[in-house]
């Protein structure tokens, strides 16, 4: 199987120096609705993500996780504050694969490049490579309904990678998958992010998933969403969902999260 030449080692030198900032959110607020019905979804949230960093955002319902991603993706504008992605290309992946059902896996990936006027031959070649990266080369000509949930989500990942983005935003991308498939996709994502030194902002409400994947886990409060805690995860080597290190961090985060939920129960 062909691979891209980039080294598949975590901590390999990223394209930019590690202190480079990839995403900078400054005092970002988002209000939905007007007058008495107005809802403050995100409240003066500040967050800086370094280039090549994998940041997991975690929080209970109503912490404005998805709103935040939409704003970073440029699909939504903040009511106040600033979102700065330094003009980098941003790709987003949702919980649902959101593939176009009338196109094959390959054409779905190609369409992302067509929007950027990549020449036809180049599109076909790159789509083939990307599907190979997510181990779907032999399913390139299948339509989404012929694939399993995990495979669809991998096509969606290949499509997101087709943007040649520096920043990958992921909105609970594995939330709808079974645990076994999710484990394998965690390994996949690890490998791909290392190969491409991607900056990832990953939203989840699965604490273990956050502890498994993130270089940093950022805890958000609910209604309105703001950063209440952060956990740096030391990069000591490959992790698995059942690693001791992951379990320890997960229980710490869970305790903090419950504390936050109790605050809302009073």
């Amino acid at each position: 199987m062909q691979r891209r030449a980039a080294p598949a080692i975590p901590g390999a030198p990223p394209r930019r120096a590690p202190h480079d900032t990839a995403i900078k959110l400054t005092e970002v607020s988002k209000v939905y609705g007007k007058g008495a019905a107005a809802v403050l979804a995100v409240d003066r949230l500040s967050l800086t993500v370094a280039a090549g960093e994998f940041v997991c955002l975690i929080g209970a319902s109503g912490c404005g996780k998805s709103t935040l991603l939409s704003m970073v993706a440029g699909l939504d504008t903040p009511t106040s504050g600033q979102v700065d992605t330094g003009g980098q290309r941003v790709a987003i992946m949702f919980q649902e694969p959101a593939l176009f059902p009338w196109l094959t896996a390959r054409k779905n990936v190609e369409l992302a490049m067509r929007a950027r006027n990549v020449p036809k031959a180049e599109r076909a070649r790159r789509a083939g490579e990307l599907l190979d990266t997510v181990h779907l080369a032999e399913f390139a000509d299948k339509r989404p309904h012929e694939l399993s949930g995990g495979m669809r989500q991998r096509v969606a990942l290949a499509r997101a990678l087709a943007h040649e983005a520096d920043v990958l935003l992921m909105d609970e991308p594995f939330g709808a998958l079974d645990a076994m498939t999710r484990d394998l996709l965690h390994d996949e994502l690890d490998r791909i992010c290392a190969e491409r030194s991607l900056t990832v902002l990953f939203v989840t409400h699965n604490v273990r998933e956050a502890a498994r994947l993130g270089d940093r886990v950022v805890l958000l409060s609910s209604r309105p969403g703001r950063v209440i805690d952060e956990y740096q995860v030391p990069r000591t080597g490959p992790r698995r969902i059942d690693s001791v290190q992951v379990a320890e961090l997960a229980s710490k985060v869970t305790d903090r999260l419950r504390e936050e939920m109790r605050r809302h129960g009073v």
């Binding site: 176009f100 995990g150 394998l184």
Partner: protein, 297 residues
């Protein structure tokens, strides 16, 4: 690294093949034959029942009754149809009607699609004519004929005009519905991909609308076909031999079996076109996985 990449690759490939299951093993030709028979026998039975009821009705009420010479049994009528099929006149009529049908339908297709595309994209236009389109759909097309005949005279143009008025609103509405029902998630995905304006419309909204558009096309055909036959009966054009004209002639000659023969031809014509639409619709739904796998076999 604690676990090798190749082991991980193998795990993923293995999981994929487990999730997709084994390909079905079926006996191709026997299966096709069974499928064809399953589709055919209900139709044959229905035809047999109709013919039997007709024969029974005829035998009880009219058999040996020379005074009621107008009513014929199925044997006589089908004989009439067979002999008509042997003459060029019926085939000319079918050709003539078919040509008008095609012209009128294509015209309605172009106009309906253009209106649908414009209305779905331009909000003020939708506010202005959206409800008029739905209103037009409920208007019986035959009501347009006096207007059309005054405007165009007794010509094919009058018939085409009414066909377009009957069919175009359905086609436009089908497209508008399809555009409205494009899943917001796909639109979001399209926007993040950088699809904008025309590209968004061409690569995302139109393909997403296809099933509803096809439904509109099918309904539009039904309206066009009805309008056409009504037109051929009402607008008798000198020198034209159409199915409508044959029907009208049969009426003038009190020729019941002749009329039924032409009606059968019209019915079959309609069924054949409907089957074509159904085939296309089925193919589109199969491509998108919109068929129940159990029902699709």
């Amino acid at each position: 690294m604690a676990f090798s990449t190749s082991a991980q690759d193998a795990a993923i490939t293995g999981l994929d093949s487990l999730e997709l299951g084994q390909p079905q093993v079926t006996n191709g030709s026997a299966r096709t034959a069974r499928k064809a028979w399953t589709a055919t026998w209900p139709k044959l039975l229905a035809i047999a029942i109709v013919l039997a009821a007709w024969q029974l009705f005829y035998a009880i009420n009219f058999h040996g009754d020379t005074a009621s010479g107008l009513v014929k049994g199925p044997a006589t009528t089908l004989g009439n149809l067979a002999s008509q099929l042997g003459h060029a006149q019926l085939w000319h009529a079918i050709e003539d009607t078919g040509r008008t049908a095609l012209a009128g339908y294509l015209l309605a297709l172009v106009i309906g699609t253009a209106i649908g595309a414009a209305v779905s994209r331009i909000p003020p236009l939708r506010a202005a004519v959206g409800s008029i389109i739905s209103g037009l759909q409920t208007m019986p097309s035959i009501a347009w004929f006096p207007f059309a005949i005054i405007l165009f005279g007794t010509s094919v143009s009058a018939i085409l005009f009414v066909m377009v008025l009957g069919a175009a609103p359905s086609i436009a509405n089908g497209l508008i519905t399809g555009v409205d029902y494009t899943p917001p998630l796909l639109l979001r995905a399209g926007r993040t991909m950088g699809l904008r304006g025309i590209a968004m419309y061409w690569y995302l909204i139109l393909p997403a609308s296809l099933p509803a558009y096809l439904a509109g096309l099918k309904q539009g055909w039904a309206f066009a076909w009805r309008s056409l036959l009504a037109g051929e009966l009402l607008v008798l054009i000198v020198g034209h031999v159409s199915l409508g004209v044959l029907l009208s002639t049969a009426q003038d000659n009190q020729d019941l079996s002749g009329a039924i023969s032409v009606m059968i031809v019209i019915l079959v014509f309609g069924i054949v076109v409907d089957m074509i639409f159904s085939k296309i619709d089925l193919a589109v739904r199969r491509r998108r996985g919109l068929l129940d796998p159990a029902a699709a076999t």
